[in-house]
């Protein structure tokens, strides 16, 4: 073999580890840099999340760094020009910070609620939330309210961890995996890695989804469900399990509240609450004692099924209620099939298959050193039921998503698969006690930090954030009767409410990483109008809008002040265990970003901006008593700030009293950033064998977790099949609660109808208020695996994969509707109308249409030219969706189109009709005026020839040219091995 030339000049290259931010999965990357240009981005093989692999987006980082849409400097709306007209002037960073400071100072000194600070794809809500609470405003939340709070709430209120980023299937051991409504999700690479593992191990993968693409493509079985009906499918499977006596008795008795006794006094105060003893301990019926006893005690023999009278009250065990409810014929596979469109035989078979795998193929993991349960008893085995599940926005983006999510957890719990080998595992710092013991802050005052974080977990009406008259205190009306358990706020309501002045007016809206003027808003066109809306006096209804973005998004166009951020390769950043961390089920992890490219523009990371503002405004946590700054920089702050002694943002490489490096808890270590950088930008601490499972009841784990400040107590985390929290709100709606209760009829109805201690199916709210015959088709979105929301159309490589989205429709349905493949069609909902191009496919449930999310763009945004396909042929489904319920001229007209329990935006409740457009009607509609280019915008080239260095060609010698073909000339192209 002839020697190869030196293709890469390694001496001129540097490889640095950092964390990807092409999406929220936060994979570890190694970036090869040559002359401050990215040569190559590679997955970090040691990294807990991605183990070396990268997705399409992660691989396209070069083109994000190279984007012509990058903001170059701070910008201010030109005086005298209209908001949204795109007339900006470049200002210096110093000036921008001064403007921001003055504005914020005034608000903080007078009425901190006048600041609404909302963040979109924010990865450090622990920091933005900290900032908001130091500032003293309740009006802070991240995108969770429109994203997937239903999953978080459904899980955290049931088993102390959740789907989303809180847990993972035990990919190594699971033998049966059911995926509900997932296209890519946050665990983007881990799911792909896991699915392959599952299939290699011979496991079965069932995909429940109206569309068959991506993950469902490789599913062993596809369940083409009608959107919004998963609860009935799940509960019907539960029905089958119950009928066949297929549930895990031991798991239910030891680890859940299934045996707890519930007071059964319908229509009376206290009905449906747990029966408790004098100390407030829940009671069970003990079969040996034949008496009620403290159900939290070990070594008792609780009756799973019990009905009788205790303390003079009629009671039933939780399991009795469960059986009564779900054995009912309404949950029979035949009835469920009518609602969800999945054949009855299939429902029954799937349930029984899971039972078989859970109980006939159960696994035992030996623990030689033994594990100790919460009561101090030693066991030498972990019993595993290798059935696992994952669910995401196909479940959560419906107004019945909370109850549906709980229904899915019910299946897992009945089969005993929670935090057991082969089941669904929590990721540290989860599981937490149910729910996590943080209550939302209720009060604020000038120049005063909040007493707690703005967001938390209410357990009853007294935790809501309302004034004495029952009026919402938060601008998004979170924790009000509209959405009592809105643990992540309702970001999708902020603009609408602020413009209406309902519940009040604000002064400044500050947005970080959220494209609220476009794809992350329901009802795009009207939101743009609202952002422009003025008072009679001529002032804007939202007087001042500050946007932190790194690129020329649609939202940037509506800002009064734009603070340009660095790109993810240009900044120092933290992914903390105080937030949703990057942990793996069996390892506690967190990570950092380090600067690998030096910015060439006047930009400042939002992390630095927040810190700077906090210090200028004198936040107590950031300043000393004399008002001087406590921290030099963001990096200094991350090292030295402590939540409680020994606990900071980063858990790795802290210091013990002797100055040795220790993990999880310890004093600040000035070398902490260096340690992370040396270790590939992450910290990973594997949990010892004996604290890897049953962590809700694993004493050693709970003690370990308490030391790390993940949990507040070492009490057993009892899984809540029966939700007393739900019942409290229900009672409040029924007028039977001993505490705050709503006064308005529609609130009473909302609470009494949708809150329920046991999950149930109800038709999504929007669908109850429209004529379903007129709008027969469900319309949903899917995340394309190769794009992240709006921000990847600026990416020259990714947009080649998809610059135009289609509306995908079932081929047979298309034929029935007289719609041709690739025809332009009108799609109408109760709220709006769009024109799109239809593609007829097999991969779509008969009653559903779907499209890729966020491909459509406003002309002129994202550094794209005006003729870009995204703005001429691509479209957003959002124009069809309303943030309010369909108008029916009743009290619900102004109520949020969200889950009535959590306030989760109900994106996927949408129903539409589709009809062919007239001859000549082509191109997307509606279109929007083109955004003006920013004053110092980069010019997008017509041809791109990116290269970090000149190519070194591999030359073919002349003799070889003359002498060798492939095989025709008798010489095999491939030489035999010598």
């Amino acid at each position: 073999m002839s020697a190869l030339p030196e293709f890469e000049k390694r001496s001129q290259q540097e490889v640095k580890a950092t964390t990807c931010y092409m999406c929220a999965c936060r994979c570890g990357i190694k970036v090869t840099v040559e002359d401050n240009k990215v040569r190559y981005i590679q997955g970090n093989r040691d990294h807990p999340i991605n183990k070396g692999v990268l997705c399409a987006k992660g691989n396209a980082g070069i083109m994000k760094q190279n984007s012509p849409a990058k903001l170059k400097s701070p910008l201010r709306r030109k005086a005298g020009t209209e908001r949204g007209a795109g007339e900006f002037e470049a200002i210096s960073m110093a000036e921008a910070l001064d403007i921001l400071e003055a504005r914020l100072r005034k608000i903080r000194e007078t009425d901190p609620l006048k600041l609404a600070y909302f963040t979109g794809r924010d990865q450090m809500q622990a920091l933005t939330g900290f900032w908001a609470s130091q500032f003293g405003t309740l009006n802070w939340a991240a995108h969770g309210g429109f994203c997937s709070v239903n999953m978080a709430a459904g899980g955290l209120y049931t088993m102390g961890h959740a789907f989303w980023e809180f847990g993972d299937p035990d990919w190594d051991r699971t033998k049966y995996f059911m995926m509900w409504g997932v296209a890519d999700d946050h665990a983007s690479n881990p799911i792909k890695i896991g699915l392959e593992k599952l299939k290699r191990n011979g496991g079965k993968f069932v995909g429940i989804n109206p569309a068959r693409t991506g993950y469902q493509a490789i599913a062993d079985e596809w369940v083409a469900i009608k959107p919004g009906t998963d609860a009935i499918l799940a509960l019907s499977m539960l029905h089958v399990l119950l009928k066949n006596n297929q549930f895990d008795w031991e798991f239910l008795i030891r680890y859940t509240n299934a045996a707890y006794l519930v007071v059964h006094t319908p229509n009376q105060t206290g009905h449906g609450l747990l029966l408790r003893d004098a100390e407030g301990k829940p009671l069970v019926w003990d079969m040996r004692l034949t008496a009620a006893t403290d159900g939290t005690r070990p070594s008792i023999t609780p009756a799973l099924f019990y009905e009788g009278e205790v303390q003079g009250k009629p009671v039933k065990s939780v399991m009795t209620l469960i059986a009564e409810e779900y054995l009912d014929e309404q949950y029979s596979p035949e009835n469920a099939a009518n609602i969800c469109g999945v054949p009855a035989e299939q429902i029954e078979r799937l349930a029984l298959e899971m039972a078989h795998v859970a109980f006939k193929e159960s696994i035992e993991v030996d623990v030689p050193e033994g594990w100790t349960d919460w009561a101090g008893r030693k066991h030498y085995k972990f019993i595993g039921r290798p059935v696992s599940m994952h669910a995401m926005r196909g479940i959560s983006a419906h107004s019945n998503g909370f109850q549906t999510c709980r229904a899915i957890h019910f299946l897992q719990i009945m089969l005993g698969t929670v935090d057991v080998p082969g089941g669904h595992l929590a990721k540290p710092p989860y599981p937490k006690h149910i729910p996590p013991a943080i209550k939302p802050a209720k009060d604020c005052a000038p120049n005063t930090p909040l007493k707690g974080p703005p967001l938390g977990f209410p357990t009853g009406p007294e935790d809501l954030v309302m004034d004495a008259k029952g009026k919402a205190k938060r601008i998004d009306k979170a924790y009000s009767w509209d959405a009592p358990m809105s643990n992540h706020g309702l970001m999708h309501m902020v603009i609408t409410n602020a413009v209406k002045g309902d519940p009040y007016k604000i002064d400044t809206l500050m947005m970080f990483m959220a494209n609220m003027a476009w794809n992350s808003t329901m009802n795009t066109a009207e939101i743009q109008d609202m952002l422009r809306e003025k008072e009679v006096g001529g002032e804007y209804k939202i007087p001042f809008i500050v946007v932190s973005d790194a690129y020329h998004s649609e939202m940037v166009n509506f800002a009064d002040l734009i603070i340009p951020d660095t790109t993810y390769l240009e900044r120092w950043d933290t992914i903390s265990m105080l937030d949703r961390p990057i942990s793996e089920p069996h390892a506690a992890c967190d990570s950092i970003r380090q600067q690998v490219i030096r910015p060439d523009r006047d930009v400042l990371s939002w992390q630095e901006v927040q810190l700077e503002m906090g210090m200028r405004l004198g936040f107590p946590a950031l300043t000393n008593a004399d008002g001087s700054r406590k921290y030099e920089s963001y990096k200094d702050f991350i090292i030295n700030w402590q939540k409680e002694p020994g606990i900071g943002f980063l858990a790795g490489w802290r210091l013990d009293e002797e100055g040795n490096e220790v993990h999880l808890r310890g004093k600040p270590n000035p070398k902490q950033w260096e340690r992370y950088a040396e270790n590939g930008a992450f910290f990973e601490m594997h949990l010892p064998e004996h604290i890897r499972y049953y962590r809700h009841a694993n004493k050693d784990y709970l003690e370990f977790a308490k030391n790390a400040a993940w949990v507040g107590s070492t009490h057993q985390i009892v899984i809540e099949l029966y939700s007393e929290t739900q019942q409290r709100f229900k009672l409040a709606g029924q007028g039977l609660y001993d505490g705050p209760m709503p006064t308005e009829a529609h609130h009473k109805e909302r609470l009494s109808t949708y809150f329920n201690p046991l999950p149930f199916y109800y038709k999504p709210l929007e669908q109850c208020r429209i004529d379903e015959d007129e709008y027969p088709l469900f319309a949903v979105n899917q995340r394309p695996m190769f794009m992240y929301h709006s921000w990847d159309s600026q990416n020259a490589w990714l947009r080649q994969i998809c610059a135009q989205n289609f509306l995908y429709m079932n081929r047979q349905r298309g034929a029935a509707l007289g719609i041709q493949d690739e025809a332009w069609c009108w799609v109408e909902s109760h709220h709006g109308k769009i024109r799109v191009q239809v593609k007829l496919v097999e991969a779509c449930q008969y009653d559903t249409v779907w499209t890729w999310n966020a491909i459509g763009k406003q002309k002129g945004a994202w550094g794209l030219k005006e003729d870009a396909n995204e703005s001429n042929d691509g479209f957003l489904m959002n124009h069809l969706i309303s943030e309010l319920l369909p108008v029916k001229n009743d009290a619900l007209d102004n109520v949020t189109n969200s889950d009535p329990i959590t306030g989760q935006a109900a994106w996927y409740d949408l129903k539409v009709k589709v009809s062919p457009a007239a001859e000549g009607e082509t191109g997307t509609w509606p279109t929007f005026p083109a955004l003006k280019p920013l004053p110092n915008a980069h010019v997008a080239p017509d041809i791109l020839r990116y290269q970090a260095h000149k190519a070194v060609n591999l030359e073919r010698p002349l003799a070889d040219v003359l002498s060798r073909g492939s095989v025709h000339d008798g010489q095999r192209g491939t030489a035999n091995k010598e």
Binding site: T213, Q800, C802, A803, Q804, V841, V961, G965, S966
Partner: protein, 312 residues
């Protein structure tokens, strides 16, 4: 396949040029026509102009013409290379041949005979190579047949014969035997073409099922993985209107074969003169243009299977 003008022009023009020169040499060898030096030189000149124009046009098709000279390197395996080598070899023998004719003032010496023979062989080899460029491609079933080189050779010889008839007539040289040869060729070529068109319609070869390996159910394309065109779409995605294809075929037979045969019959029987021969050649050219266009437009590369075509 996309019918590129440069390639159509190249094959038609150089094909006619080689055909003309070949017939010139044959006529010389076998005394088919009473050629004189002037006519030979004129005919040879025209042939070389046609050949050269064609070759130049074919280099226009190259994206990196500065490396065109390298095209001779792979004579061993590449028909394109062979075509190039033969085309290059053709020039010295053709020029030598014309020079010899000029020097000997049209006396058929053995040397000239040898030169004529070499011109015929190299010319045929060149045209055969052109045909084989297409015929050797297993990826395009419409081309992958012995009919392709046969067609190229026949087309070249036919158009050459008609052109030689025209040149002879316009130089007032007796041309009936050439015209009759032309008619014979026209009929033979038309027959071959008819067989080709009949054959090409029988769908055979790979399908979307064999292309993907999924043979037990219908396979449909869901997504190409790119929303705009790519090199593959541009190069292989050409799709002509089926009715246009049909009509053009009739056009091919009328223009390339029927009309010129009639006209040549008139010439051979002395009813018609040089004008008719000119018309006949023009008609052949137009017909051949259409034929060549169809040759490309009807060719369906197997890559189309991956873009959703059920068969080629």
């Amino acid at each position: 396949m996309h019918p590129a003008f440069s390639v159509i022009f190249f094959t038609v023009s150089s094909g006619a040029g080689y055909g003309l020169f070949i017939w010139l040499a044959i006529a010389q060898l076998f005394g088919l026509a009473s050629l004189n030096t002037k006519t030979t030189l004129i005919a040879g000149g025209i042939a070389l102009v046609l050949i050269t124009a064609g070759l130049l046009s074919s280099t226009l098709h190259l994206a990196n013409p500065k490396n065109a000279w390298r095209a001779v390197m792979r004579f061993k395996t590449s028909w394109l290379s062979r075509e190039g080598v033969f085309a290059i070899l053709f020039y010295p023998s053709a020029l030598l041949y014309l020079l010899a004719i000029f020097m000997s003032d049209h006396e058929t010496t053995t040397f000239i005979k040898l030169l004529a023979l070499s011109v015929i062989i190299i010319g045929l080899a060149t045209v055969f190579s052109t045909g084989m460029i297409y015929a050797c491609l297993k990826t395009i079933r419409q081309w992958h047949t012995a009919l392709t080189p046969a067609n190229y050779i026949l087309m070249s010889l036919t158009s050459g014969a008609v052109l030689l008839t025209l040149v002879l007539l316009s130089n007032k040289v007796f041309a009936a035997s050439m015209a009759i040869t032309g008619i014979g060729l026209l009929i033979l070529t038309a027959l071959t073409k008819a067989i080709y068109y009949f054959w090409v319609h029988k769908v055979t070869g790979p399908t979307i099922n064999t292309a993907t390996g999924f043979t037990r159910a219908q396979v449909r394309l869901l997504d190409t993985g790119h929303s705009a065109g790519t090199f593959l779409n541009q190069e292989f995605g050409y799709q002509a209107d089926p009715s246009l294809l049909k009509n053009l075929k009739v056009g091919v037979f009328v223009l390339a074969f029927f009309v010129p045969s009639l006209l040549l019959a008139g010439v051979a029987t002395d009813y018609l003169g040089v004008g008719a021969a000119l018309l006949a050649f023009a008609s052949v050219l137009a017909g051949l243009g259409a034929e060549r266009w169809l040759f490309f437009a009807e060719a369906r590369h197997v890559i189309r299977l991956y873009h959703g075509a059920q068969h080629t």
